[in-house]
């Protein structure tokens, strides 16, 4: 218990978390502080490229074939299965419509890459290693949850219309997936030599640029919180905190079954526990325009993301440590 608290405190007092808190606070006092949209998008391109490349380069030096395949499979299964859990929990805790509940469920089956990045940065600073291919697992977990959500709806409403090609492009060829996977492959192909060339770009300023990105996310989340009261019921709030805890258990079991390292188990817990707020919301606007975006964005970005960032990550690290030591 002391371990968690110490870790949580240390986490809470790191520049990345404090940058997020600064953004949150600035938005809540309604300051005009803002990061231009182009800069926010540029930062996310940087983070995806750097994290993908580093993962690929790591795999290239350690090798990973069967392990990687199994981990990808586990990730896909988690992503496809967790929406059922989320959907059930939502029907239990809230009065959301079928469509809204399915849309939210898709978010929680999918993943948040920034939560993943923050967790791996924290692991790095704790000196805890992890499998380089976890970033590929992250990419593999982006989309399957969407299919489950659509299936949930088509079951509840058999008359619902067929999805068109636009949706598939939105889901499978989504820019952030392509960039993450592409950078991973580039890192894998170019390996140590490639890493040496671009290391001063993808490693040295990474931590600082993550601070700016989290500052921006704090601003966006803070603006969203204004609308939160009207949109999010008490039950939904409980869901936004319970669901990541439940999901992380599934991640823990999967990680243990795969025989991952301590860091790897933690990251799989983080992926399972995190909820998408970039790729899935866009896919939902295409696939389920009648679902209320305020509900899923508020839950994912304003409740679950801060929870995971501030309390969740230290919790998952400690839990993994306890279980794996035991």
């Amino acid at each position: 218990m002391d371990g968690i608290l110490a870790l949580a405190q240390q986490n809470l007092l790191s520049p990345i978390i404090l940058s997020f808190v600064l953004g949150l606070a600035a938005a809540l006092v309604r300051s005009d502080l803002n990061i231009p949209e182009a800069i926010a998008k540029g930062l996310s391109v940087y983070l995806l490229f750097a994290i993908g490349f580093k993962g690929g380069a790591n795999v290239s030096s350690h090798g990973a074939d069967l392990e990687l395949a199994l981990a990808l499979l586990a990730g896909i299964i988690l992503s496809a299965a967790l929406p059922f859990v989320a959907y059930g929990l939502l029907r239990l805790l809230t009065r959301l419509s079928v469509v809204d509940a399915a849309a939210v469920a898709a978010h929680y089956g999918s993943i948040s890459i920034v939560t993943f990045v923050a967790a791996s940065t924290i692991l790095d600073s704790q000196g805890i290693g992890y499998e380089g291919y976890m970033v590929a697992v992250a990419a593999a977990m982006e989309a399957p949850a969407i299919l489950t959500a659509l299936w949930l709806i088509s079951r509840a409403r058999p008359e619902s219309r067929q999805q068109d090609s636009h949706l598939w492009r939105e889901v499978m060829l989504n820019g952030s997936i392509i960039l993450l996977v592409g950078a991973f492959v580039i890192g894998w192909i170019t390996g140590e030599e490639g890493k040496r060339q671009i290391d001063p770009f993808i490693t040295a300023p990474f931590h600082g640029l993550l601070c700016l990105f989290l500052l921006d996310m704090g601003l966006v989340a803070g603006r969203g919180l204004y609308k939160a009261q009207r949109v999010v019921s008490a039950g939904a709030l409980v869901f936004g905190i319970t669901m990541p805890l439940v999901s992380s258990l599934f991640g823990l079991l999967a990680g243990l079954a795969l025989g991952l390292s301590l860091g790897g188990v933690t990251l799989l817990m983080v992926l399972a526990a995190s909820a998408s707020y970039i790729a899935v919301p866009a896919a939902m606007r295409v696939a389920l325009p009648e679902a209320n975006p305020a509900v899923y964005l508020t839950l994912s970005l304003c409740i679950t993301f801060p929870f995971n960032l501030i309390l969740g990550i230290p919790l998952y690290i400690t839990a993994a440590e306890l279980v794996m030591a035991g």
Partner: protein
């Protein structure tokens, strides 16, 4: 320099639908339009702002389309299915253009 009557159709629609709407317009033979970025707004679903946004989920864009009056119905027919279930507004204004043969 004569001016010829035309219609100015302005469609404000979710960013994620930009591709769909473009396809729908081009398929209907409406090949002249311009897309203007939008930075924020307010509607029945509340206020929004593009500031610091990474996801395309929240944003909107504005299509401006000048066309011959007799082609308006074609445009409306092709746009309606896209606009129908999605967030957005459409307006049609009478206007005048130079070089009518272009529209």
């Amino acid at each position: 320099m004569d001016l010829y009557p035309a219609k100015r159709v302005e469609i404000i629609i979710e960013s994620v639908m930009e591709g769909h709407l473009t396809e729908a317009l081009v398929d209907a033979g409406v090949t002249g339009f311009t897309i203007v970025p939008v930075s924020g707004g307010s509607g029945r679903s509340g206020q929004w702002s593009g500031q610091g946004q990474v996801s395309r989920a929240g944003g909107m864009v504005m299509f401006v389309c000048l066309l011959r009056p007799d082609r308006l119905q074609t445009l409306l027919d092709s746009v309606f299915p896209v606009l129908d279930r999605h967030i957005g507004v459409l307006s049609v204004t009478d206007t005048y253009v130079l070089r009518a043969e272009r529209f």
